[in-house]
Structures are given as C-alpha cells and as structure tokens.
C-alpha cells in the first residue's frame, strides 16, 4: 500500500535517531572515565550550585489561569470550525454557535462573580471569610 511506502522514511529516521543516541551514550560510557566525587551526582545548573527544595508551593491562581486558558482556547477551536463552514451552515449554524457563545458568556460571568479571576484576596458572592 502507498501509505506504508510513505511511512518508510519515517521508520528509518526513527531508527536512525535511536541508533545515534545509543551510540553517543554507549561510546561515552565505554570510553569515558568514571569518578565518584561529591559533586558527581549534583544536578548540573551551568556551574551554579542548586539550593533549596524543588517542591515549592505555587499560588493556586497559576493553575486556575492555566485551566481557564485551556477551556477558552479549546472553545475557540469549535468556533473556528464553525467559521470555516460559515456559508454552508447558514442561519442554523449561526444560531447554534450563538447558543454556544451564550453559554460561554455565562461561564465567564460565573467565573468572574465567584472570584476566580481575582488574584490574592477573593471577592466571591455570599462568601464570608472564616471568623
């Protein structure tokens, strides 16, 4: 089949990548010297000693913003798919996308009103800070 023929270069390329990496790692392992100094197993940070723990607490807002981005970005994909076929879908498609954007707007209003877009102090509706 032609699709298999078209795949061949990729398979060869993939195998070549594997072979190259294996050769580089293997040769340096075979020919290189091995030392067990104190600094051997430290992570290499371009000469700077790494300090502190990698488990830092990030503010939860970063994740919230990331999630909003994913949600709204995905929704642009749907709107884009409609825009491509704008004339073929006609009024029916327009109404469907209108409904879709309406629901999106409500989601945005909900996020805004429940304080998800605030940084730091949240100001949600009906929410009383604890004691």
């Amino acid at each position: 089949m032609s699709s298999e023929a078209a795949l061949w270069p990729f398979i060869v390329y993939f195998l070549a990548v594997l072979a190259l990496v294996a050769t580089m790692l293997g040769l340096s392992w075979l020919l290189g010297q091995r030392r067990a100094n104190q600094a051997t197993n430290l992570p290499f940070e371009s000469g700077v000693l790494s300090v502190g723990t990698p488990q830092i607490h990030f503010a939860v807002e970063f994740y919230l913003i990331a999630i909003f981005f994913v949600i709204f970005d995905l929704e642009t994909v749907f709107i884009f798919a409609w825009a491509v076929a704008f004339f073929e879908l006609g009024w029916e498609g327009f109404l469907a996308v209108g409904l879709f954007i309406f629901i999106l707007t409500i989601a945005l209003i909900y996020e805004w009103r429940s304080g998800a877009l605030d940084w730091g102090q949240k100001t949600r509706t009906g929410w009383k800070p604890e004691r």
Binding site: I106, A107, I109, Y110, W112, S114, T125, W127
Partner: protein
C-alpha cells in the same frame, strides 16, 4: 431541525437549561435553598417531559436515539438524582463552605447519564461518559474538610482516566478496522470484515470491554471500588453506585446488541469469565468487611456480575426480549434498593459534624430500636440486596434466573446461585447488627419530616416492587 427532534431532546434541554440558570443563580445570589429548588425544579421538568414523551417516542439521529429503553432509564436516573438532591443539602452544608456547585455538578452528571442511555454512536458514548465522569470526580472530592474524599477522588480520577484512554484506543482500533463509528454502521461492516480487520476489531473489543468493565467495576477491574465508595460522601456514593453504573450498563447493552458483537464467541467467552469472576470475587471479598460502604462496594461488584448474565443470554435472538426485560427490571430494583441503603448512611443526624462518616457496622448496632424507620429501611434494603422474597431484589434475581435458564448457561447459573448463597451471610450480618439490643448507640438520628418522607417513599418502592411488580413489568414489556 424539526419539531420531532425538539420534542425528543426536550428532557435533556430542560436539564441543560437548569444548569445555566443554576450557574447564574450561584454567580449573583449564592443561596443553597435556591440552588436545591432550581435543581429539583429542572429534574421535575425533565421527568415531566419524559412522561409526556412516553407513549412510543422513537427519534433517531446520528448520535442519539430516544426510544422506550432510553426513556425508562432516563426517568430512573432523574428520579435517582432527585433522591440524591433530597438527601444532600444538610450533609453538604456540614462539610463544605459552598454548597451551590454540588447541585450544579449533580445536574451535569445526570445529563451525562441520560446521554449515555440514548447513545448510539461512539462520540455520544464518550461525551456522556466524560460528562458523567468529570462531574463525579468533583462530586467525590466536594467535602473540603477531610482528606478521605480527596484520596477517593484522586484514585477515581487517575484510574478512570486510564480506563477512558483504553476505551478511546479501542474505538480508534475499531475505526481503523471498519471505518465506522456509529453502532449500526459498525455492525454492518463487521459482517463484511475480512480477516485483517477481524484481528483489529477483536483487539478493539477487548480494549472497549476493559474500559467499560472498569466503569462497572467488574473483576479484574474492581480495585478502585471499595476505596472510592468509602471515601466519597455517602449521597454521592449512592449516586455513583446507581446512576453511573446503570448508565454505563445501559450503553454497554445497547452497544453489544447494535454492533453485533454477540456473534463472536471470543467476546462471549471473555464476558462469561468476567461475569463468573465478578460474582464469586465480589461476594467472597465482602464477607470480611466491617465497613458498610466497603461491604456495599463489594456487593455492587457481585451485582454487576449478575447483570452481565443478561448480555450472554441476549446473544440468542429468541431470548433477546426476555433478557432486556430482566436487565431493565434488575436495574430499577437495584437502583431503588441501593439508594435506600445509602439514604440510611447519609441520614444527617447520624453523621458527626466535620468528622469522618460513621459507616462501620458497629455504628449501625441497634439502629432498629433507636430509630425504627431508618432501621427498617436498612433492613429492607439488605434483604432486597440478598434477594429475599417480598422485596424488589427477589423479583429482579428471579427474572435473571429465568432468563439464564433459557440457554445453556450452566456455569453462570451456578455462580449466580453460589454467589447469592454467600451474599446472604454478609447481608444478614448487617441485619444482625441492626437488631442488636445495644445501648452504646451514642448518635441518635434526629429525623426531620424531610428524611422521614424520603424513607417512607423508598421503603414503599422496595416493598412495592417486590409485592406487586406487575405494573413495572407491564410498563417494561410495553416499550420493548
């Protein structure tokens, strides 16, 4: 776009409209009472529209099919969601700062379950499954003052995600083999498929069965069940045990029949092995449980094993109608009974403020004397799960049995009998605890009219289905 379509989809649209209104209400005027009212109103509207559609709706589009089968199950899911919504407000108010979103998630999960019961296409199957699943992760983790729900939600999220990925890969392989995604289209190309496609399709069906078996918690995909059941808040566990499993079983049965998967002996044999293993392992593991929720989790594994018998029976076209009838009756009986059991476990006064849930067997000790109504409901639920006559569970099990004897399913029948026998031990153990004359029952349930009403309704439903099942049977027969 015609009026038939709008009519057929109106229950789904009613619930979707309800979620939008609920979101606006939460955004502008956060008040748990309003949230409950909006949820119950949209569920009521959805149920009303389903009943209005009732006689002979048969709408079919590429993605959804609204027939009697879907309508009956949708009605069941809506009623189960209404019971959950009735149970939860006091429970959630004790355990979470904000209770509005709980009902939003509950409505969304119900919509997902309804879509599953109507799905006739791989896309709608996946859409319904994910809508149900994602809402459930959040529902399980909802109580924000304890760690156990969080642990349960993370376990469910990771394992369920893996199962969904397996399922998706299975669909991709099926598409590669047949070039079809609709159930009926799959069945047509399966009939024409050559030997090359056969291998692909078999690999696909194994992956699809694994994915769905995970959601139904069948052995060997059952590991998550006890932890998630125990960790999830009791009303949500009840919802998970009834609506989520019922919806997945509904779509499993429809896909199994409409794709013609029953023509392949390999699939039938592997399903039989899963069913036998679930019946035996579920019942045996339940024997040593001291936590009622874990006990119910293992018992649900066994019950899903019993239900799988239906899939094997309906592979013979002559018995198809009886098998589907048995499955629907069993699902209704199981849903009502399980909801009754979890209603008792949720009983708000019965729960300690902020602390972990009191669901050990010893906490139920003497319940029947301290609180007759709750005790009686638990007693009847246990007897129904065990399949004792005069309860819904007996009629359901009898139905399964009579469906299974129509064909040569001796191994399955044997496991059903042995499994039910083992089951009686641990269900009666709960009953024994309920009946103990024990004075150290510190937590007296304070029954409001709210809980008592629900208890009476559930009690009447379990006993009613057991004593006079004819009306439901007639209803089910009229739609097949």
């Amino acid at each position: 776009m015609n009026s038939g379509m709008w009519q057929a989809l109106s229950p789904l649209l009613a619930l979707s409209g309800g979620t939008v209104v609920l979101m606006l209400q939460i955004a502008f005027h956060r008040n748990p009472r309003w949230s409950v009212a909006i949820t119950q109103l949209s569920l009521l509207l959805g149920a009303g529209l389903l009943l209005w559609l009732w006689p002979g709706s048969d709408y079919q589009s590429l993605l959804l099919r609204v027939d009697g089968y879907a309508l009956l199950l949708n009605l069941l899911f809506i009623l189960a969601a209404a019971v959950t919504c009735w149970l939860s407000p006091a429970y959630i108010a004790l355990r979470s700062e904000q209770s509005g979103e709980f009902f939003l998630l509950l409505l969304l999960a119900t919509i997902g379950a309804m879509i599953l019961a109507q799905a006739v296409h791989v896309a709608s199957l996946l859409l319904g499954l994910e809508l149900l699943g994602v809402a459930l992760y959040a529902l399980i983790a909802y109580p924000d003052r304890s760690l156990l729900p969080l642990e349960a939600a993370v376990k469910y999220l990771v394992l369920s995600g893996a199962a969904s990925a397996t399922l998706l890969f299975g669909f991709a392989l099926a598409y590669a083999g047949t070039g079809q995604l609709a159930f009926t289209g799959l069945s047509e190309s399966l009939a024409l498929a050559g030997s090359g496609a056969y291998t692909l399709v078999m690999a696909a069906s194994v992956m699809i069965i694994c994915g769905l078996a995970f959601k139904l918690s069948l052995v060997p995909f059952h590991m998550w069940t006890p932890d998630v059941y125990q960790g999830a808040p009791s009303p949500v566990t009840g919802f998970l045990a009834t609506v989520s499993k019922g919806a997945v079983f509904a779509v499993f049965l429809r896909a199994f029949l409409e794709t013609g998967a029953y023509q392949f002996p390999i699939i039938l044999n592997s399903l039989a092995a899963i069913a036998v293993a679930s019946m035996l392992v579920g019942n045996l593991l339940a024997l040593r449980q001291d936590n009622v929720k874990r006990l119910l989790a293992y018992s649900s594994i066994a019950h899903m094993g019993y239900l799988l018998i239906v899939l094997l029976v309906c592979s013979d076209p002559a018995n198809h109608d009886l098998a589907v009838e048995a499955a629907l009756f069993y699902l209704v009986a199981y849903t009502v009974t399980t909801l009754a059991a979890f209603a008792v476990l949720t009983w708000p006064g019965y729960e300690q403020y902020q602390g972990p849930e009191h669901t050990e067997l010893k906490h139920l000790s003497g319940l029947l004397w301290h609180h007759p109504l709750a005790g009686l409901l638990m007693l009847v639920a246990m007897l129904s799960l065990a399949g004792i006559p005069l309860t819904a569970g007996f009629v359901g099990k009898f139905y399964l049995f009579s469906a299974a004897v129509t064909g040569p399913h001796w191994l399955l029948l044997g496991s059903l009998v042995v499994g039910s026998g083992i089951g009686i031990y641990y269900y009666l153990r709960v009953v024994y605890y309920l009946l103990r004359r024990d004075d150290n029952h510190a937590l007296l349930p304070n029954a409001g009219w709210h809980e008592s009403c629900l208890a009476v309704v559930l009690l009447a439903a379990v006993l009613g289905l057991g004593i006079a099942p004819q009306s439901l049977i007639g209803w089910i027969q009229s739609i097949l």
